[in-house]
């Protein structure tokens, strides 16, 4: 029995927003008489942090403190339409909707302040909850005072609405798959390196370390981004070596029906995780953001598989990479098998898994 260490890498890309786009989000904002801000958005927060990120976008755009923002996504009567929280779209698409709404509110704040201060609105700026004259910061008034004046002096409501829609991309040629416009809102990129330890007697794979580099345009809230990246890494680890709904796929029998029979990673399986965040702001995202949520579990499974090959010289291409599959591959290798068919310039792996071996009617290949 021996433990073998190996390293592997993988790199991925992932689209932001629904494939083929056409997924609208809308938002509206109102300001209370004391300048506090109510944001209404239809974006469900599934733990991804969209309440936080959208509130940050509004606070940044209005120039008011983050804790002045109240965020209400609680129901479809008061919140406008949002396609939903999936497809890594809540920061980019729904975030753009609140950004546009906040820009409108900002203009209205400046318009009222301009009247109060008797100055052109273009000469005003707003930051830290106060509107001030550019170059003459002493001449200023609080956003709370502006809101009070709007309400009680000018008889106005400070409000704004915004909507974002990347127009739907159509497949114009079903033969080739050609589309008429970009089918994504943006694309994010990442790479992952895994270090594993493989026990050649039990087939057990321990993932010791995952190092990951992500370019997601702009980390709107680095703490939440790291949460996505590390949570995603653990989910990717589970996909790589632990989890399956059908342990004897394609059989539908022997399914795990609880947390003790379906194995998600636990604290004991957690590797060391190192993150590198790279920021190349996107063209169209709010403050340069792109999506992060869905890509975070995609690079680990291959990096782990490649590290296993590096450690013990076997490829496992049916997932998850269970101890049983590792041992089967090691047994085949010890028996002199497990090699691809090499014939001239052809190197054919995994032929036993191909539809050509299983189906009686379908053949596919070069």
């Amino acid at each position: 029995m021996a433990l073998h260490r190996g390293k592997g890498v993988a790199t991925i890309e992932y689209p932001t927003g629904m494939n083929q786009n056409g997924d609208p989000s809308q938002a509206w904002i109102k300001v209370k008489p004391d300048g506090r801000v109510d944001v209404f958005s239809g974006t469900s927060d599934i733990g991804n942090g969209s309440k936080t990120v959208q509130s940050q976008i509004v606070a940044e755009t209005l120039g008011v403190p983050y804790d002045w923002i109240t965020y209400d996504n609680s129901n479809t009567d008061s919140s406008p339409m949002c396609t939903g929280t999936f497809a890594s779209r809540a920061t980019f698409v729904a975030g753009n909707a609140v950004l546009k709404a906040a820009r409108q509110v900002r203009e209205r704040i400046l318009a009222v302040a301009a009247r109060e201060l008797e100055i052109d609105p273009e000469d005003l700026e707003v930051a830290d909850g106060a509107v001030s004259v550019k170059g003459t910061p002493a001449k200023s008034m609080g956003v709370d005072e502006v809101a009070g004046a709007a309400t009680f002096v000018h008889g106005e409501l400070l409000t704004g609405d915004g909507a974002h829609l990347n127009p739907g991309a159509a497949i114009v040629d079903p033969e080739t798959g050609e589309v008429d416009k970009p089918p994504h809102a943006a694309i994010s990129y990442a790479a992952c390196a895994a270090t594993v330890e493989v026990d050649d007697e039990t087939g057990d794979v321990r993932v010791l370390k995952l190092t990951q580099a992500y370019d997601i345009g702009r980390a709107m809230n680095p703490t939440l981004v790291e949460g996505q990246i590390e949570g995603g890494a653990v989910m990717g680890l589970g996909f790589g070596v632990l989890e399956t709904c059908y342990p004897y796929y394609p059989s539908a029998e022997h399914r795990g029906d609880g947390m003790n029979t379906y194995h998600v990673p636990t604290m004991s399986e957690l590797p060391d995780i190192d993150n590198v965040l790279i920021e190349n702001p996107s063209e169209g995202g709010p403050y340069g953001a792109k999506g992060i949520g869905e890509m975070a579990n995609n690079a680990q499974p291959a990096a782990i598989a490649n590290a296993i090959y590096d450690a013990v010289g076997v490829w496992v291409t049916e997932f998850p990479i269970t101890p049983e599959r590792v041992l089967d591959a090691l047994d085949a290798k010890r028996a002199g098998g497990g090699e691809p068919r090499r014939e001239g310039r052809v190197v054919a792996f995994d032929e036993e898994l191909s539809i050509n071996r299983v189906s009686s009617t379908r053949t596919w290949g070069p």
Binding site: V9, N75, T76, C82, Y249, P250
Partner: protein
């Protein structure tokens, strides 16, 4: 910037970690009933009798919902996009997977509701099941899906395959020094949200319905409810927005329409909370993918062309699978530029729980396949894995499988950063690479045509 980019605390974090956040299961109302579902015990069976009389007569039972109670029985997740619906909200005369709901009972307690489910008489005529996607095309295979057969056949109206064709695939394979093939089979994965599927539906005095929902997409789910119940959106108020984990599995709107029907029929608030076992065995999970990749490669490490066959195991009904395979096809070169492509993707139906969205939908298995394949090719060439990847990595204005120019690809930069962070030595040549448009040695003959045509 002061607020964007700051490490601010999660907006609702304190409530989550102190147990004070109100989730759907925390909603309790006077007179609230509890629901339970009767589910199919078979993978594939005809229903020859469905008699809910005894269940309806039980003390404490207030409503039994069967297919006959649903105003619009079949509504597809992608109906809005012109893809026909195929899945009944409740099974009518056929069950297509084990766990498929046949009836819903609302009663004073969950125990009574479960006992009433057991009292519903259903006779089944069991039929052979299809579970292996590789057998779906064979003569005599059991037919899984009434609407589409064994694989989806209405891409752009009448194609039974999602295709990508680009460049000249035969020329690429003719010119190849090496042709490497591999087969990759990724599994079904459960989303495992801490909060299982759950709904509370309340019939309001004014005739409206209030639905406390765990959906990830309130307006999408509003549309699903209003379609099945044939009501205008003004008559239903979805209350939610704070979800106890979804990971894709809560786009399905698995519990809202039936709970709403039970509330309407009983005139009482109804809660339907799935058990962990139901969540594991009957809720939509990530679908399995069967992927065969054949790459044509040059001795100096360029991927000249790729042929790929993908068969997605959708389970018994379509849900979002057509979307998933289309997205998959758009990304089947991964982070690389491959100018000559021949891709065929199928949505195949089997008698298992319908699969649905999960984090990385359409891509997780694909990225796994592509990146193991890349490693194999690099090793067959005797090339450093970083070098092979960096060389083929997409650059600005390279084009995607469907001919869209990449605006800001960072593949080169994330690989260089990863090498640096892990202490992997890259040669000066590799360190000097960038995302910039290809030129010089980075623009080999097989890519000239693509760049020369402007890509679009």
């Amino acid at each position: 910037m002061k607020v964007v980019g700051a490490r601010l605390p999660r907006y609702d974090g304190v409530g989550h970690v102190t147990g004070r956040t109100t989730y759907v299961d925390d909603v309790r109302l006077p007179g609230m009933l509890h629901a339970a579902a009767l589910r199919s015990p078979h993978h594939n069976a005809r229903i020859t009798r469905l008699d809910a009389g005894a269940a309806e007569a039980m003390a404490g039972v207030h409503a039994v919902i069967t297919h006959a109670d649903v105003p619009l029985l079949v509504y597809g997740h992608l109906s809005g996009g012109g893809i026909p619906g195929d899945e009944p909200l409740l099974a009518k005369d056929h069950v297509r997977y084990r766990g498929q709901p046949v009836a819903l009972v609302a009663a004073d307690t969950v125990d009574i509701a479960r006992a009433a489910c057991a009292a519903i008489k259903v006779d089944y005529e069991e039929l052979p099941a299809l579970l292996d996607v590789r057998l779906a095309f064979d003569d005599g295979a059991p037919v899984v899906n009434d609407t589409f057969g064994n694989w989806y056949d209405q891409y752009e109206g009448n194609l039974d395959v999602r295709q990508i064709r680009k460049g000249d695939i035969e020329e690429a394979f003719g010119a190849a020094d090496l042709i490497v093939s591999g087969v990759y089979r990724t599994q079904s994965q459960e989303q495992v949200p801490l909060e299982t599927q759950v709904c509370v539906a309340i019939p309001e005095p004014d005739g409206r319905l209030t639905i406390h929902t765990c959906t990830q997409a309130m307006y999408f789910s509003l549309g699903v409810v209003c379609s099945h119940l044939q009501m205008p959106m003004s008559e239903v108020k979805m209350v939610g927005g704070t979800v106890g984990g979804g990971f894709g599995g809560k786009v399905d709107t698995a519990s809202d329409p039936l709970t709403a029907l039970a509330a309407q029929k009983s005139g009482r608030p109804v809660k339907w909370r799935w058990s962990r076992e139901e969540e594991m065995l009957a809720s939509g999970n990530r679908g399995p993918w069967h992927m065969e990749i054949i790459d044509a490669v040059s001795r100096d490490g360029w991927i000249l062309g790729r042929k790929m066959l993908t068969i997605h195991d959708a389970g018994a009904y379509g849900r979002f699978s057509v979307y998933g395979v289309t997205k998959h096809s758009f990304h089947h070169t991964g982070a690389y530029t491959i100018p000559n492509l021949h891709f065929d993707g199928y949505v195949v139906f089997t008698n298992r729980v319908p699969t649905t969205a999960m984090r990385g939908y359409g891509i997780t298995g694909l990225a796994t396949a592509i990146e193991i394949h890349a490693e194999r090719v690099a090793r067959e060439l005797g090339m450093d894995p970083y070098e092979f990847r960096l060389k083929n990595a997409n650059r600005v204005n390279d084009t995607s499988p469907n001919r869209i120019a990449y605006e800001d690809p960072s593949t080169v930069e994330v690989l260089q950063s990863l090498a640096s962070a892990t202490g992997s030595e890259l040669s000066e040549e590799l360190r000097a690479m960038s995302r910039d448009e290809r030129s010089g040695d980075m623009l080999p003959d097989h890519l000239v045509a693509q760049i020369g045509s402007g890509g679009h």
